[in-house]
Symmetry: C2
């Protein structure tokens, strides 16, 4: 597999380009929109993620010789179409929700304007990045919100594909997590990394004491010792004996956590290790974290549930042609009409209506407006514009890229979530926290 993203594409996208180049419609100016028809069952809000990664992937979306050779050999498209693909470089405009923005059903998350052919070949790439990353970020935001300010780390790399693990770490960070166990996410996206030892390290040694001594010799007493390989009570006692009362933390990865954590806190205090922290990492999700809110936990590590979207491993976003120019140059709104999956055609703009306390009350989707920015809404209007320019003439706004873009997305998520009404934070199943209205 090369570095090109060009074949992260469903075959029908190239087939459509092939047929549309033949009849000339490939060059019709078109507007595609990415949105979610609904939130995952019972969720109150979603968090957009993947946008920054997507912009970088679109920038690298080129058909090089290896891709063209393979397409030729397998007769996926006609030779004339291969020539068009060889010259491909996205040259259109993309507006959309900032990465880290909160979203609701129908929110026009991304609006891609280009020729039909240029825009349609990005369908799979757009949806893969948004669906996966938003799934993780949305789950992460729920977990971080019930962690009540206690640090929370993502450590689920092993429960998702080795490369999606890197994207998951990034999305969880945008969603409000503080660190990741994944080293590539640290390198690529500047996310703080963490981790000390697994049970294997204890089992490698002739005794738990040998293992603890080895770890303290290597990293000093401020390290985190995993105390549940054999017996937690004995493990805690040994940990403090080996590291002294200045031991940084103990990690607990099993057991009935509320009970165990309370007992360990008491034991640590009795041993004089009053500043030693307790971190827990055993199959946590938003519900078990909420259940630990009264326990003396100092930090959380979350694996499977966050990288798999806590029951919603894909955010359900779709990519639809919503408008295109006809031969007379007029924009025509278009939409599939069949009942179960009907869409709203036409160009969209969106704003969030806030009340006097800056609490979100309504997601307003304006149909037919141009995809303008904040300037369209007066500063005092209590409408917060949601769509910003992300790419102009094929050039991405650098503010959304790389480690800085990732950090900005995390900060934006924190701000946007402050606007959510209190009902949004209930974990029980329910409707979207605010209604979406089309205007």
């Amino acid at each position: 597999m090369t570095g090109s993203a060009a074949l992260f594409t469903d075959r029908y996208e190239l087939t459509m380009v092939d047929a549309a180049l033949r009849d000339g419609t490939a060059h019709r100016e078109s507007l595609f929109e990415a949105f979610a028809r609904r939130l995952p069952d019972g969720r109150r809000y979603g968090v957009v993620a993947g946008t920054g990664r997507l912009l970088e992937l679109i920038d690298r979306f080129r058909f090089e010789d290896p891709e063209l050779d393979w397409l030729r050999e397998h007769e996926v498209v006609r030779p004339e179409t291969l020539d068009w693909l060889a010259d491909y470089r996205f040259s259109g405009d993309i507006h959309g929700y900032r990465e880290g923005e909160v979203y609701f059903p129908g929110s026009p998350l991304l609006s891609i304007e280009a020729s039909f052919a240029e825009a349609v070949v990005l369908e799979t790439l757009v949806l893969s990045t948004l669906n996966f990353d938003s799934s993780v970020a949305s789950a992460a935001a729920r977990m971080a919100s019930v962690a009540l300010g206690r640090p929370i780390a993502e450590m689920g790399s092993r429960r998702t594909n080795e490369r999606s693990a890197v994207a998951a770490a990034r999305a969880a960070y945008i969603g409000g997590f503080d660190a990741t166990s994944n080293l590539e996410a640290g390198r690529t996206w500047g996310i703080p990394t963490m981790g000390t030892a697994a049970h294997a390290f204890t089992l490698l040694h002739d005794s738990e004491e040998d293992a603890f001594r080895a770890q303290v010799a290597a990293f000093g007493p401020k390290t985190t010792l995993l105390v549940d390989t054999y017996d937690i009570r004995e493990g805690v006692e040994l940990a403090v004996r080996v590291a002294g009362p200045e031991l940084g933390a103990v990690r607990i990865d099993s057991g009935d956590l509320p009970t165990v954590v309370a007992a360990v806190r008491e034991q640590l205090d009795d041993l004089g290790a009053v500043h030693t922290k307790i971190t827990v990492t055993s199959d946590l999700d938003e519900f078990t974290i909420a259940g630990l809110s009264g326990a003396p936990v100092d930090s959380y590590g979350v694996g499977t549930s966050v990288v798999t979207g806590s029951g919603a491993p894909a955010a359900g976003m779709v990519y639809k042609l919503v408008a295109r120019r006809d031969d007379a140059g007029e924009w025509v709104a278009v939409a599939k009409a069949s009942t179960a999956k009907a869409s709203v055609g036409g160009r969209k703009n969106a704003a969030r209506r806030l009340d006097s306390t800056r609490t979100a009350r309504e997601e307003l989707v304006f149909v037919g407006d141009g995809p303008g920015g904040a300037a369209e809404f007066e500063p005092g209007s209590r409408l917060r514009a949601l769509m910003v320019p992300l790419m102009r003439d094929g050039v991405a706004d650098a503010a959304h890229l790389g480690t800085a873009g990732t950090a900005a997305a995390r900060a934006h998520r924190a701000e946007a979530m402050q606007e959510l009404p209190i009902e949004a934070f209930r974990l029980g199943r329910g409707e979207a926290a605010i209604p979406t209205s089309y205007r």
Copy 2:
């Protein structure tokens, strides 16, 4: 991100190496095992996938200068440990279940023997590949088994990370799917690719008729026309009018499928298009496919549910140190003792006990044996040996790699599934199809 897989690693693996190099235990010969404590809720069997990809990734697992520089700059490990990482090349042995093999709780899927340090740094990579790919292959096998021989294609790239989509297409193929929409999976793994057009192609044109004419002009009447953009009945009539009764197929992506499919079949027959096939693609999973068994469907396309493991997006596999040599050179079985997550320590071998009809009756896990191959079991014994050599002294058995390995895994899955008792194919929730016994 470079081509190296070395940072698809949790930080604690390097931390453990760092501490174990300091006290010398890093070089203790160790045996790690990958297994699943249980199957996903209600499932009767699982299908191993990811093995071939994993062997290729282990082969490329090297710390090059960019990785070493980053680790140095962030002080993840000591400088001496960086030197050890710079020389890293896996030189151990790997035995395990063939890719495509059926598995049950406790099946010793992979047995990795090397020094502690060499083996422990692979933990995340081993689990990411096995957990994700096996999740998809296990779901795919259930779907393929209820498709009753009708072709079934994977088209869920858009519902998972852009790179995991390629692995998902491969895993679904191993699980029994026949094709994928994902072009990179076609190129990298030799999987047949498919796809013609989306609703956007119809909406791009001034009329459905224009769109159908364009598609038939490009690909001939044997193409598949998507007939549900506006009105299915009118769409079908138009499709046959444009392409003639030799129209290859119509695709239906919405509606109450059993009813709609029956009506479309009748309509096609009335129009003389008796050989025109019907393919359906609307939010299918094993349950809706089973519900269509009596409907005149000719082929299925499945998206979200297969790439997200149909409710079980991670297979729940873990990677545990089960044995290591002590300073006297003796192997010592080791296992975590805490109750909820206790493991069985020791070296494992495994065989499936078959009855006189070659139906599987029991998963036998021998504890303490060497990881031998089929030779350990007599040919007439009705015990099928399950563990084969996958990598010897760091060199992978080429039979498991690349497109040939992928095809072999798919063929092996078909054979292994023929041994399953009939109860294994029930979709209702239940216990594993056969019990696992430790000997």
